[in-house]
Symmetry: C2
Subunit: 317 residues, 2 copies
């Protein structure tokens, strides 16, 4: 029931995921969901939820008070083992609160975090869950991000970098200086400080940072992508030679846009909880919802949660 | 004498700027600079400086101890009124220390800051000088960024946004929550919270943030630009129709790259000091150096320093 285009677009995304082999349980207002399934000739399990949490609700309060909200019911299906994970395109805060309070944190995980995957296959963790963090949290983010890189991106011994304002040792705030020391002895393949520009190139697979900086990096990359596409179109329009090629270039532009567009490529993984949680963009289309469901299914099949539990266990052992 | 390609590339950049009408004093090792000028048939004032500050030196200590370093001598020319400003492609830390200790802060400016201009004509301040800031510093950044938008970009009543993780009021860390309140009553055209994606689009002209987040935004945008260009080339190479067009597309690609490439478009303005200071990229080519010198000349001609002084005065009056 969450997201700007719910429930129709979400249900259609679920139908697409089901047809590609994902086992999906739909949670929400049965009276609105069932007709959409039937019209598409698709049968799927629907679990009714009578309430929804809006963007204006305080997430933690809403999760405690609206026991029958769709995200709460979905999270309970995960907590009871009926589902391996849940996907939400609703309020990110509500999904995180449901994950923390209902699904629960893994033992010894201090702070679940949002791990976003860039079109260049770089993982940025945390990209928005924890605005103020301590150095030891960044170490756990590194372990969890590495587990995701191994299981989801199939990268062996992923390279972990600490987001900073320069590559040299000793750069950054007290947070980065202390985290640098801890990461140097942590059970991850730490390659040192990296910069925003390393979202491209080969220096690093996992970029570790606080949720404020990670969010700035993620959304700044979206903005720059948009900026560059705008400039390309401007330039093509002003150059007669290029203008003549536009009919041929347009499909390539569209394909490029879809590769960098967060509304297409799915969702972000919330890592550190006892089940799989994927947070989709509020403006997700059916394509994004289907991708987010496939991400969640892959995480479950690849044993992401177990891998994270083992990794975090190793840091505290 | 600063930068990866000094002194030759820097001298050639100065020659280019001189030829476009900028009055340039070259500061550094006369024995190395003079022959380059003569070979180019260019006459310019050279002020000798016997020392240089390296990337390995501690900036504040080096500025205090190496009184005859090129950046110190250049800063003294500004302090004495012999020059309206200085440009450096050397250590950013050394240039900032020379600006603070030799040129000096404007009265009532708490923290000089780095204002970077994106290819979309958005100003981000601070983009790297102050990693830990207080809400009242962000208000001064807003005033100084607005002055730069008015004088350098000729924007009337520039729109100022606070970099945050969402557009809604009440988002962010304590820093953003408190700064939001102060900015709402400050003498700037405050439009509220903005996100990284607003480096494109029309929502804002000046983006205010701490130096860590601003640096992440700036370098992340560089990285994304690089990423998108890489993806375009990849796509063009794999599509026979596009591959045939490459000879025609290549110049447009190059032009686009140069519009987004920080090594081409010049430098960043250090705002809040008693003279003009422009910090160029360490890997600046002659084109970038010439652009940085033209930026500094424009700042002087447009009365940037006086405008900032008046704006800051208004906030404390």
């Amino acid at each position: 029931m969450g997201g700007d285009h719910a429930p129709a677009e979400v249900v259609h995304g679920a139908i697409e995921a089901i047809r590609s082999g994902v086992e999906v349980i739909l949670v929400g207002d049965r009276a609105r969901i069932q007709p959409l399934l039937e019209a598409a000739g698709c049968s799927a399990r629907v679990v009714h939820a009578s309430e929804t949490i809006g963007m204006g609700d305080d997430p933690s309060i809403a999760i405690r008070e609206k026991k029958d909200s769709s995200v709460s019911v979905a999270a309970r299906l995960v907590a009871t083992g009926d589902a391996a994970g849940f996907v939400s395109a609703g309020s990110t805060g509500a999904a995180m609160a449901a994950a923390a309070l209902i699904v629960g944190r893994l033992p010894e995980v201090r702070r679940p975090a949002i791990a976003s995957i860039f079109p260049t296959r770089k993982i940025v963790v945390d990209s928005g869950a924890n605005l103020d963090v301590r150095p030891e949290h960044l170490v756990q983010f590194a372990v969890m991000g590495s587990a995701l890189a191994e299981t989801y991106l199939q990268i062996t011994d992923p390279k972990v970098g600490l987001l900073n304002i320069g590559e040299e040792d000793g750069k950054g705030r007290d947070l980065e200086k202390e985290a640098f020391k801890l990461l140097s002895t942590a059970p991850v393949n730490f390659v040192g400080n990296v910069e925003g520009r390393d979202v491209a190139g080969d220096r690093v697979d996992v970029i570790v940072t606080d949720g404020f900086s990670g969010n700035v990096l993620l959304k700044g990359a979206e903005g720059s992508g948009r900026m560059l596409l705008e400039m390309m179109m401007e330039q093509a329009a002003s150059d007669p030679g290029l203008r003549a090629m536009l009919p041929t270039l347009a499909p390539a532009f569209r394909q490029l846009r879809s590769r960098v567009d967060p509304e297409t490529y799915g969702g972000a993984h919330l890592v550190g909880t006892r089940g799989v949680v994927v947070i989709a963009h509020g403006s997700s289309t059916r394509v994004a919802i289907a991708n987010a469901l496939r991400m969640a299914a892959a995480d479950a099949a690849n044993g992401l949660v177990e891998r994270i539990a083992a990794g975090i266990g190793a840091t505290v052992a």
